[in-house]
Amino acid sequence: MPGLRLLLVIIVSAALIVADQQFDRLAPVRSTLATGLTPVYWLGNAPYQFSDWVAGLFTTREDVKQENEDLKARLLILERRALKYAALASENNELRRLMNSSELLDDRVIVSEVVSVSPDPYSHEIIINKGRSDGLQVGQAILDAHGLMGQVVQTSQVTSRVLLVSDSSHAVPVEVVRNGLRAILLGTGDSGTLDLVHVPDTADIREGDLLVSSGLGGRFPRGYPVAEVSLINKEPGEPFVSIRARPKAQLNQSRLVLVVFPPKGGPRSEPATGDQVQPASPASDTEQEGQG
């Protein structure tokens, strides 16, 4: 009798796996189950919130005052920067208008909290506490205070699953800030290193170069810092240089993250200027290196 049930279960599982993996038919089922499992996520996060709360109980007045002063000082610095930024942004818009290109709107963001990390040690994923009810959709970019963290890959009603840039199945189209050199940044499965692939031997790239998202491929917004080149290894005879980069975002420390909403008016579209052809997929973007 158990044998019969096992056979039944094997057949059903095989059907499910194929439907899920090959035909992508089970997203609603998974989403519904995930919504049902929300209490589990809450309970999993509860001890951390409780410890935060307890720590908050025992903070002295002096500490709070000190922290408040630090924050005020920091706010002042950031406000000064924001002032400069506003001027630059208006100037930038002006220039873009002069060049007859479409304007780039500022992205709308919401703050979200990390409630869980993936239990699988070989996949770099986190769960955040915003879901479809907050308007999240698959494919949105996630940032922390320092840079790009990843993208939403699954949503349920009140939580979402985020694939981090360091996951070995993740790729971001990036460009070097200094000269606009385009390349693809791959995750390695190690949260401290990313691989910059298919960069030709002769490309102008140095250690310490900042890599920002290029916006090509249409998934990530343009211009957010992703990583910093940490190691360049030129093998004579190899067509490509092997380049390591360190992610700017604190992938396994940040508890507060920002979810970026694309500007209103349908899916994100990059301003198409005359000398720039937008590739259809991130993969074809490497072929255009060196033009920038």
């Binding site: 059903v12 599982s13 993996q21 499992l37």
Partner: protein, 158 residues
């Protein structure tokens, strides 16, 4: 076989094991996290083979699939396999001393991990040598404590 089965304890143990499988384990040591849901399936099928079986284990595995974002059905199949194997050996298992029971836990959970790992590989997962067997080992090590604890809770509340 337990004389009484406390269904509230069963429900609670499932919820706790699901929470434990996503949380409350030091970051960086995830490799060694015991397969909590596997232990729960093992325990309940072993103690109450008439009530809990393959289908039940399959449903629990499906929940784990959602939590771990594996293709739906992978962990479900693994859990069902554990339940099936426990059902086939539970009469002998009762006679075994602790070390031998632990060995069986290791073997059964190891088979589960192997199957899950194999299926993940088929769909393009990362290969990390034999380290995927650590959860089976840690589960086997905590099995005596776990099963005594569960027996006591069952007896108190059942």
């Amino acid at each position: 076989m337990l004389s009484v089965i406390s269904y509230p304890v069963f429900v609670l143990s499932v919820i706790v094991s699901l929470v434990l499988s996503i949380s409350l384990f030091p970051v960086g040591w995830f490799e060694f996290r015991p397969e909590w849901l596997g232990l729960i399936v093992f325990y309940w099928t072993f103690r109450a083979p008439a009530q809990f079986g393959v289908l039940f284990a399959w449903c629990l595995g499906l929940l784990l699939d959602v939590l771990e974002a594996t293709p739906l059905g992978v962990n479900a199949l693994g859990m069902a396999l554990i339940a099936f194997l426990v059902l086939t050996i539970h009469q002998r298992l009762r006679m075994y001393p602790w070390p031998q029971q632990c060995l069986m836990v290791f073997l059964l959970l190891g088979i589960n991990q192997m199957l899950v790992h194999f299926l993940k590989q088929v769909f393009g997962g990362e290969d990390a040598g034999f380290s995927y067997l650590w959860p089976a080992l840690t589960s086997a090590l905590i099995w005596p404590v776990f099963s005594i604890l569960m027996d006591n809770i069952n007896r108190k509340l059942g």
